[in-house]
Symmetry: C4
Subunit: 381 residues, 4 copies
Amino acid sequence: MPRPRLRQMERAYGFDEVALVPGDVTINPDQTNIEFAVGNHTLSIPILASAMDAIVDPAFAIRLNMLGGLAVLNLEGVQTRYEDPGEILDQIARTAEKKVTALLQKIYSEPIKEKLVSQRVGAIKEAGAICAVSVTPASTKRLAPIAKDAGMDILVVQSTVTTARHISKSYRGLILPELCQQMSVPLIVGNCCSYSAALELMRTGIDGILVGVGPGAACTTREVIGVGVPQITATLNCAAAREAYLKESGKYVSVITDGGIRTGGDLCKAFAAGADAVMIGSPLAQATEAPGKGYHWGMSHSHPALPRGTRIKVGTTAPLERILFGPTSATNGTQNLVGALRTGMGVCSARTIKEMHKVKMVIAPSIRTEGKYFQAIQNAP
Amino acid sequence: MPRPRLRQMERAYGFDEVALVPGDVTINPDQTNIEFAVGNHTLSIPILASAMDAIVDPAFAIRLNMLGGLAVLNLEGVQTRYEDPGEILDQIARTAEKKVTALLQKIYSEPIKEKLVSQRVGAIKEAGAICAVSVTPASTKRLAPIAKDAGMDILVVQSTVTTARHISKSYRGLILPELCQQMSVPLIVGNCCSYSAALELMRTGIDGILVGVGPGAACTTREVIGVGVPQITATLNCAAAREAYLKESGKYVSVITDGGIRTGGDLCKAFAAGADAVMIGSPLAQATEAPGKGYHWGMSHSHPALPRGTRIKVGTTAPLERILFGPTSATNGTQNLVGALRTGMGVCSARTIKEMHKVKMVIAPSIRTEGKYFQAIQNAP
Amino acid sequence: MPRPRLRQMERAYGFDEVALVPGDVTINPDQTNIEFAVGNHTLSIPILASAMDAIVDPAFAIRLNMLGGLAVLNLEGVQTRYEDPGEILDQIARTAEKKVTALLQKIYSEPIKEKLVSQRVGAIKEAGAICAVSVTPASTKRLAPIAKDAGMDILVVQSTVTTARHISKSYRGLILPELCQQMSVPLIVGNCCSYSAALELMRTGIDGILVGVGPGAACTTREVIGVGVPQITATLNCAAAREAYLKESGKYVSVITDGGIRTGGDLCKAFAAGADAVMIGSPLAQATEAPGKGYHWGMSHSHPALPRGTRIKVGTTAPLERILFGPTSATNGTQNLVGALRTGMGVCSARTIKEMHKVKMVIAPSIRTEGKYFQAIQNAP
Amino acid sequence: MPRPRLRQMERAYGFDEVALVPGDVTINPDQTNIEFAVGNHTLSIPILASAMDAIVDPAFAIRLNMLGGLAVLNLEGVQTRYEDPGEILDQIARTAEKKVTALLQKIYSEPIKEKLVSQRVGAIKEAGAICAVSVTPASTKRLAPIAKDAGMDILVVQSTVTTARHISKSYRGLILPELCQQMSVPLIVGNCCSYSAALELMRTGIDGILVGVGPGAACTTREVIGVGVPQITATLNCAAAREAYLKESGKYVSVITDGGIRTGGDLCKAFAAGADAVMIGSPLAQATEAPGKGYHWGMSHSHPALPRGTRIKVGTTAPLERILFGPTSATNGTQNLVGALRTGMGVCSARTIKEMHKVKMVIAPSIRTEGKYFQAIQNAP
């Protein structure tokens, strides 16, 4: 009997499975350039804060922009549903593990107030900071114009998976090319993780894409619906789409790896895989300034019928400035992320992020366990 | 010395090793069609309950069919051995781990009563539900006609491994083509996991095959006899046989992935690998309506000489309706399985189960660990 | 710069990484033939007991042979060093983990008594059992003739690694072809794990080879000197050598997989990989009749300068007959090993061990975790 | 849409993922030659002690050289910063885990005293031992001449990653060819892990390279900056560079695998991968003579802004002589490292280190778990 030809499946890789190979020239960290440009804004560090309630409120957005990065305010979270979100955030932090999903489902059923949308955007702009906000595709038509009027600088349209085409019987999907024309601000869309979806999104005229389905620390999309591509492969895919689109159109669309980055090591690997910037959640949720008070949860966590997230305790470890620039006594890679990026680039002979895109990676799943094995063998008989 | 040519071994994949890739179009979950047809019966949801005593009794079968699915009643379990199976099931739930295998061996040595076979089938039919029952190959000739007379609608012939040919000195094996002719009800046979065995079974005239040897949560076949093929590869194999047989005969035989599905993610992956329906055990054993009272055990567990199963405590977590359709506060994928399937299909651009068969999968073993790593690294020095 | 061509390394597989694929015909277990012939002796079951002090003493050898298998008595263990080995074995069982290696080093420094060699062999022969004994290459010339005179039937020459050629300045290596001529009893030699070493050993005229370097439960050779080949690949290698040698010489040399088998599943896989028989340690150390009293240790454990073993507590679980033939209530594969083999063969369409050699295997490392995952996910938030 | 061609990533292997295959001839351990030559010095054992404060002080260096090996004294550690380093080392050993990184950062901010450099080198030379010292590239010009004047025999220039070219705005990089000319002592440089970087370093005229970025037990470089290549692949890469350079220049540059070796097994594998010698840390930190008093920490641990290390408790287990030559009762491979190397070579048919370079390795990640699985399955229900 002839053997059947089964569907071919490619291997996809995550952060823990690869490692960077040092280059042939060493570059001093202070010689590296890590700027990130989006529209006519240039950030001195290529780090965005996730549009999650545990991480970004107006004060955090202002602080991070002062330090060179960019926070994205979620326009569908507690900040726009409650006059006093601090109280709500306190409640989340105080609630026991078992009851927190039900609580979140209740909290996020409170309607969004348009007035609060204007107020939150206004607060950020008054402080002179760049204001980036996120909306889901279904709410974009309603909320984006309000934010625009209030001074919003960058618009992020984000859901678990966003594609250029959407089929629904209940509402007319968001037409991205129309949105690009209407808005006249840089538009970042996500998330996606494949070459074809990324390329199709780029062709709608957007300025950046968010890469990552399922990898975040507070996300359980993989358990719930089986969907997800590990971040190294997802970033390689989308970076390949960026190069293809650049060739066909002359336009460079930024690739932003979003989710799953926990350490400086992960962050360096995201850039090596092709990211122009990264969007991070849990590492920033540990900042003294984070509104989550040492907790972190996903924004799909509160879905009324199919919650896909988990709340994790991250603790409050250091001020934001120390998490980004050190100095630090933490040796596990969770602090001085910018120093780690510059050091990693120097060791890998990369003067710029674009040179970092060409750094050699190896598949090396064992690499993390080697150092930790010692103590295990010590305890063996 | 020339290197020997060793036997080639192919790599087989399980649920945890693959992930689904989102498609290029997003479809609203309510736009998806997930019907499953077997013979002239059409189920609104493609979910069968395993023919196991911890899951299916007549009341459960009636309830699940009302909700759109189909339960298979095991005609060789406690329901047909005992007038009052509830008492026996209580006893199993109350017995300590160490003694439960011996107890099960004793319980299942009680003879099957033909009168009870008729009664149990009758009870399901009286309630107006579709009645599916399972028998082992050795008991088919004796029990199937009784069930048929009592109104049984669908016959499942099931053992750990069932093939079209069987060699025995003690009895004449079951001749499947004869059985198909005699019964005039849809016939589902299993389990199998390879292309050739599935194709050979299909050629006997059956209507569906059960895919899966060794994967179930309550099964230790792999430890005991080393046999088993992980479910993604097993389903791909049998789906390939279905396509080959469709081409040669024009008949579409249903492929039903049976065993090892614990979450909505696993369930979505089974369909992406080629399943027309799934048969699930442990997720339904958690239902309030499940006769196992929070416990689950395999039907080979009670083999008198070579028990191949384990009893696991699954707990009672929610009514069956909530496990199938939500809403839920569980974020680990064990509830709202239908919602998960529709959402997964929507994200993967699949409007129908047949479109779901073509969804792209990647090999991504790391995907589950990424999210869980965070807390581990937090605790490191 | 051109990429260097690195040495190619092949992938080697162990028991946990493969699984057997059911065949297209099912055969009743009682229709299978599992005889094993060595010289003019035929065993009704293809199971040898390891030449280890925790497993084999004369009484155990007699009992196992009565049950159809064959135990190998180690002529360099406590049985030939002490008049009353029971007392010594008691002492080992009573000694704490931390002190046991030093104790073993002391115990095994007691000289071997030639008189005891004769007595132990004599005891087995008096009971009418087949007597197989093992010696290390360095002691063969001294001890084998004594055992021969006392009636020994089968000679096993065994060390961690034994090759046809040995280079030493202190003594003239054992010349296997000479030994084969002198002894006129079947000769089994080991251990080895590669095609070329096995083929070279076969060409010396021996009757069987023991396959396995480093896999045993009580062996730490891999930690200590880095040497070892997992058992599936090692058995495939040596079985390929057997076929090559059969073709070149017409003689069939038995391949005996020795070490690392803990369950019926492992045992079935060893035969599928090409074994004619298996030699097992830890599963038999659990027998009521085992001299180790619930403990098991390797024979390299007592090396005075470089001990390569560990003592493990296996417990005493059942009489030898039950471990081999059941019935049992253990569901983890450690009892009814013969039933497991016959059942596995039946499911895989193999009537004989030689047909079992052709059974299809897949690489399936995930297979063991699937069943165990359920409880883990249950405990997750 | 055409599939994009993603960057190719090679698989890299670590110690735990490979195993050595026994050869076809067995050689008695006492017939093996394991000498290592560097410049005109010949060591009787190919083992170097890492230039780390927990391992090497002058007394340790003298002792190890007496035993046949070579210790490298770090000229930028506590020995040259403090008159009485013993007191400082006591303080490190007494400090709690959480506070030790901050303490180390403070300790290593004390300036290096040139007088102490001379004194420490002098102490080693007075005892008649070979004196090897290490400096970082940035301090080489200042410290190397002082050590040279004091009698230093071998110079090691070492940092996490060292390349032949270095770009900095603040200082002129170290020019290795100039250094080679000036010093007139054997020069060892590292660390590196790729073929091209190793080859480029060799072309500067050095005598040896240290192989290994990220693998050490006390190193967290992989977490912090994502950089590292597992040691088997790194050693294979650099050994390939050695052969290429030998062919182009006629000069044999030694390859020294540095870091990640915890057992005799790892050590044997390093040589099989191509090492001429090994540099080890944690196994020697356990010696009674080690200045770390049972603790071990990395030299990047004290980086003021981006510490990349961890302090681990290794315990004090045996005198150095026993760790190197046994006899031992430890069965986990951490003692009698030289015996393990000679035994491993004998089993693999290698009379010399150069023959060991050709030993066959297999990829065998499962090999370690097989032996340990037994107890796990025992505890299962």
